[in-house]
């Protein structure tokens, strides 16, 4: 029987332009990696807000119809030591247009975490012949933030695992 499972890894970024290289080991029973998802949690530092209005700008509220540039926190690449080589490249983006066109945002300013638009799984299919996945993360948040900062990046790997049915019966 095949079941979907999740392999989770997290790491802390606390230096500007930090390059973090690490390896995630995949359990032996895993047959395929079927999806990649990224999470972001800022623990220290304040992200610059758009002075022209919008979320938490402090100026008088107006209907948010202007498109603001989103901030790229960093980019992640995943490499498998097999024929697939580099199989995933993605950016962590902080959405600055979550309130776009929202007439109720004066009283209830929408945030990414209130509207569940943070997570988005990227579907892939990678056969796991080698049990190590090399991860290369580059921080790019220093362009959109002042002073020091610290954040946690979570990497979620959806895997397809072969499980023994007899064990499940017990």
């Amino acid at each position: 029987m095949k079941r979907e499972r999740l392999v989770i890894d997290s790491f802390v970024i606390d230096k500007p332009k930090q390059v973090k290289i690490f390896e995630v080991s995949i359990p032996r029973e895993v047959q395929h990696i079927i999806g990649v998802e990224l999470g972001f949690n800022l623990t220290e530092g304040t992200i610059l807000e758009d002075p022209a209005g919008g979320i938490g700008s402090g100026t008088a509220w107006e209907i948010p119809l202007k498109i603001k540039p989103s901030i790229c926190a960093g980019e992640l690449r995943l490499q498998s030591f097999s024929k697939a080589n580099l199989f995933y490249a993605g950016e962590i983006k902080l959405d600055k247009n979550i309130d776009n066109g929202n007439f109720a945002s004066e009283f209830f300013p929408p945030k990414v975490y209130t509207h569940q638009s943070q997570t988005s799984e990227v579907k892939i299919k990678l056969t796991c012949k080698n049990r190590l996945i090399r991860c290369i993360y580059r921080d790019k948040l220093n362009d959109g933030i002042t002073g020091g900062y610290k954040y946690i990046v979570r990497l979620y790997l959806w895997v397809l695992k072969k499980e023994n049915e007899k064990k499940e019966m017990k």
């Binding site: 390059v19 097999s82 290369i136």
Partner: protein, 106 residues
């Protein structure tokens, strides 16, 4: 990475990625002070075989810069969009082994 390690390591590295046969070419780039060179190597690999100071190399597989404290691990294998910059005030030589996979007839 020294040449001795590279010679032992390269066949394992290439076999992992499914390249049983490949060509090896020694390459030596000269970078003037402050100069940046770009290599586009999406199907090939460049293995750095020197411990060069004052140079920063960035590619899809990682970064190499001995003077940058933000880099946790130095990367000697490079692929993709490779950018080399001489951060010093004198010219530098950067030596690579260029690995070119051969086409396989299946």
């Amino acid at each position: 990475m020294t040449i001795a390690i590279a010679i032992e390591y390269i066949p394992i590295w290439m076999k992992n990625f499914g390249h049983e046969s490949y060509d090896e070419r020694p390459r030596q780039f000269v970078l003037q002070a402050g100069e940046t060179k770009i290599l586009e190597s999406y199907n090939h690999f460049f293995i750095l075989i020197d411990e060069v100071a004052n140079v920063s190399i960035t590619s899809y597989l990682g970064d190499y810069d001995l003077s940058n404290p933000a880099i946790d691990e130095q990367t000697y294998e490079h692929q993709g969009y490779i950018s080399m910059t001489n951060n010093g005030t004198s010219p530098l030589r950067v030596r690579f082994l260029h690995l070119i996979p051969k086409e396989q007839n299946n």
